[in-house]
């Protein structure tokens, strides 16, 4: 087998070497370790010696050629061997290393388009063929591209690419993305007019909407909000809601409330709210109107023996309905204590599961928000919900002589699931409720 004579690698990061001169010619006899050619790397000139003793044949490269290391550059034949024994791949790099293509000398470089990277990028952005851009010097600069763009009426595009970036903090940019409020519609309050996060959030509240576009704070419908949405939507779609309203004179309740609170103060116990008193009276009415205190579950109507009154409570993350269990069996002050405990824990997110389970009826009171009258959506699987309005002082007829008197009035609106509760059933409940509010002595034995 002819012995391959390779271009040696002599340096750590060396990839190729230039042949300076051949000291031996085709057909010469060479001795092992005898210098055959001189090559040059980037660092040094090297004598390359013969790998074996024999006849030097198959010289592939001439002086000046740049040859990748490990390329076979010739062969050494032992006596009796011929060139015919040389394998096909002579002159190709040996296996293992993907060396760069052999470059013949002398090397003539073909110059690329002389343009700066910025100029090339700008030309690409403007859709300009960079080779058409006339140069003012040895290279095409940004200014050349701009001048060419102006000539070819690309001015508007130019001005767009030149638009200064709006100064905004990363948080402001994020909020802009999330809300869809464009940053150029926001006035920056930060240093150098930089837009801060707060500038974007306040824009979403106060900036008048432009006619073509709306801006909003976008909040994903997730977690508790999603549950509320699903429950109430289901309720409103599945349960045919009917609503009936009564206006009730609550002067007697105000007296009772005052009395109870004076007692509470003396005893050092918690004050009672109008809600607590109403829950007591509502429980009394529920005891007498079992269809209103019911649930519709899997095509069965459950008429509950217990009276568990849920109080719709607004908290930061949404709406929650903690339950006063067996409200009919509790005194007003017990109910007041229980409501107080539940609402405190609700706001601290510390309600337990049992606090919100097993409700049989719900009361929603917007009185403190000065809402006079409203309709609530039933809290399924319950069949009715009572919406309690604000106490309003109204002139009403108080006797058979049509005497007018100003009295504290609350409007109660019962929303009922008509699948279970007929209009008359709802009306009877409201009448009972009216009766007990106007004549609370009916349940005097329970008041303490």
């Amino acid at each position: 087998m002819p012995i391959p004579f390779i271009m040696p690698k002599v340096d750590m990061d060396q990839e190729k070497a230039t042949i300076i001169s051949w000291e031996k010619s085709e057909g010469d006899l060479v001795k092992q370790d005898e210098t055959v050619l001189i090559v040059e790397t980037e660092k040094v000139a090297i004598d390359v010696t013969a790998p074996a003793t024999g006849t030097l044949v198959g010289l592939k490269f001439k002086a000046g050629d740049v040859v990748p290391v490990a390329t076979i550059i010739a062969y050494v034949l032992k006596p009796g061997e011929t060139l015919a024994n040389i394998p096909e791949n002579a002159g190709k790099p040996t296996q293992l290393k993907a060396a760069p293509e052999v470059v013949a000398a002398p090397q003539q470089s073909t110059a690329p388009i002389p343009a700066t990277p910025l100029a090339i990028r700008m030309a690409n952005e403007l859709g300009i063929d960079i080779t058409l851009v006339p140069t003012s010097g040895h290279r095409i600069f940004k200014e050349d591209v701009e001048a060419y763009a102006e000539l070819t009426n690309n001015v508007t595009t130019i001005s767009q690419t030149k638009t200064d970036k709006i100064a905004a903090t990363p948080a402001a940019r994020r909020l802009s993305r999330e809300t869809g409020i464009p940053l150029d519609s926001v006035k920056g309050s930060g240093p150098f007019g930089r837009i801060q996060a707060e500038d974007v959030t306040s824009t979403s509240v106060t900036t008048p909407q432009s006619s073509s576009d709306r801006s909003a704070e976008v909040i994903p419908l997730i977690g508790m909000r999603l549950k509320i949405a699903q429950r109430l939507q289901a309720s409103f779609q599945e349960a045919p809601h009917i609503a009936e309203t009564v206006e009730v004179d609550v002067s007697r309740l105000e007296v009772i409330k005052k009395h109870l609170n004076e007692t509470a103060e003396l005893n050092g116990t918690a004050k009672v709210s109008m809600t607590a008193i109403l829950v007591k009276l509502i429980s009394w009415a529920l005891e007498r109107n079992s269809y209103v205190n019911s649930s519709l579950i899997n095509e069965s109507i459950y008429l509950w023996k217990n009276v568990n009154v849920g109080i719709a409570t607004s908290i930061e993350s949404g709406l929650i309905v903690p339950v006063v269990h067996d409200a009919n069996l509790l005194s007003i002050s017990q109910i007041a204590g229980r409501i107080n405990d539940l609402s405190v824990r609700a706001r601290q997110n510390k309600l337990e599961l049992k606090d919100v389970q097993k409700g049989t009826f719900t009361v929603s009171n917007l009185g403190m928000y000065n809402i006079h009258q409203f309709r609530a959506v039933i809290n399924p699987p319950e069949c009715a919900i009572l919406a309690v309005g604000a106490i309003t002082r109204k002139p009403i007829v108080v006797d058979k002589n049509d005497s007018i008197s100003v009295r504290p009035i609350i409007a109660f609106t019962l929303s009922a699931d008509h699948r279970v509760i007929d209009g008359v059933v709802a009306a009877k409940f409201l009448n009972d409720l009216t009766k007990v509010i106007e004549y609370p002595e009916i349940l005097v034995s329970s008041i303490s």
Partner: protein, 328 residues
């Protein structure tokens, strides 16, 4: 819980570990009768003898080299380098040898050494005895870098260091040596790579370490009376770095100040900012991230000059106010 000093916490930990593990020994200059330049090893020679409290000539590179050799034979050497500044004498042994061996020998070698080094300024020791060089060490993969700020942390982190299989640079700020704090007598370890939020706050995050933790907390307490709530993140270990805590904190506050005593250029404040920039916290930034660091100067001798060379409480306060006022 007993109150002991930072120095006593370190001594107690070394003492207990030497009782527990006979492979542990201490090697360094003047650590015997003298008790070490700062007195950390005081009394240990009598207890453990000169075979385990090995006093050396002044030959820092070879002291570290000796520790490496012993570690290769499964010993647990603790090196005391008298001043952190002297690690510059030893960088070959720390950086080319200890840090690299596990890797370059394909996982076959482990180098469980702890190099204790008092660092930091404030003692009037001037340019060659006052540096904070943790960044230098952080840049050498293979090393762990620990910077405890309290006696409690010092004990828990040193315990972990002594049981770690890697070379650990344990940096003790000189001014903390006398600081007292509650330290349980029983053995406990604080894992590396877990930053400690030393103070919760919602308005701005300060990421810091060692003595600057205390300066920052003092400032934060003052600002709290004005309703400004500063969150103070004590990194505790620089390598490994608890990126998660930094990211979470900045995501909440939207503002970051990094405070360190080491000088500014290529200091680790830049690293912390990079961590934030590369993370989701970037999108919550509502002010430029800022750093407050030692000046790019050697530590001077004169007391006022020395104070001026590194961040003081008033500097931290001024910087926090400036960020919150939107001055940057």
């Amino acid at each position: 819980m007993p109150e002991i000093t930072y120095l006593e916490a370190i001594r107690q930990t070394l003492w207990n570990e030497m009782k527990r593990d006979e492979r542990v020994f201490i090697i360094g200059e003047d650590i015997g009768r003298y008790g070490g330049a700062f007195g950390v090893t005081h009394g240990m020679l009598d207890e453990f003898g000169e075979k385990r409290i090995i006093e050396t000539p002044i030959s820092e590179p070879s002291i570290i080299g000796a520790a490496i050799g012993a570690a290769l034979l499964d010993m647990r050497p603790v090196v005391e380098i008298m001043f952190m500044d002297f690690i510059l004498l030893t960088l070959d042994q720390i950086g080319n040898q200890a840090a690299k061996m596990h890797y370059m020998f394909g996982g076959k070698a482990t180098v469980p050494i702890v190099i204790r080094m008092p660092g930091g300024s404030g003692s009037g020791a001037a340019a060659q005895h006052s540096q904070s060089l943790e960044t230098l060490l952080m840049h050498l993969p293979g090393l762990k870098v620990v910077t405890p700020s309290t006696p409690y942390d010092a004990k828990g982190l040193l315990t972990t260091a002594l049981r770690d299989l890697n070379p650990v640079c344990f940096i003790e700020h000189k001014l903390l040596y006398k600081m007292k704090g509650e330290v349980p007598e029983e053995d406990y370890a604080i894992p590396f790579g877990v930053a400690d939020v030393k103070r919760k706050g919602k308005d701005l995050t300060v990421v810091t370490n060692e003595i600057m933790v205390h300066k920052t907390i003092a400032v934060a307490n003052r600002l709290a009376s004005e309703g400004i709530e500063i969150e103070v993140v004590d990194l505790r270990t620089m390598v490994p770095l608890d990126k998660q805590t930094i990211i979470e904190s900045v995501t909440r506050t939207g503002k970051l100040l990094v405070v360190h005593e080491a000088c500014e250029t290529a200091g680790w404040a830049g690293e912390i900012m990079a961590v934030v920039s590369e993370s989701r916290a970037f999108d919550y930034l509502d002010a430029p991230m800022r750093r407050l660091t030692g000046k790019n100067t050697p530590i001077p001798y004169n007391r006022d000059l020395e104070r001026a060379a590194v961040p003081q409480e008033e500097d931290i306060e001024r910087e926090i106010r400036a960020i919150l006022k939107g001055e940057y």
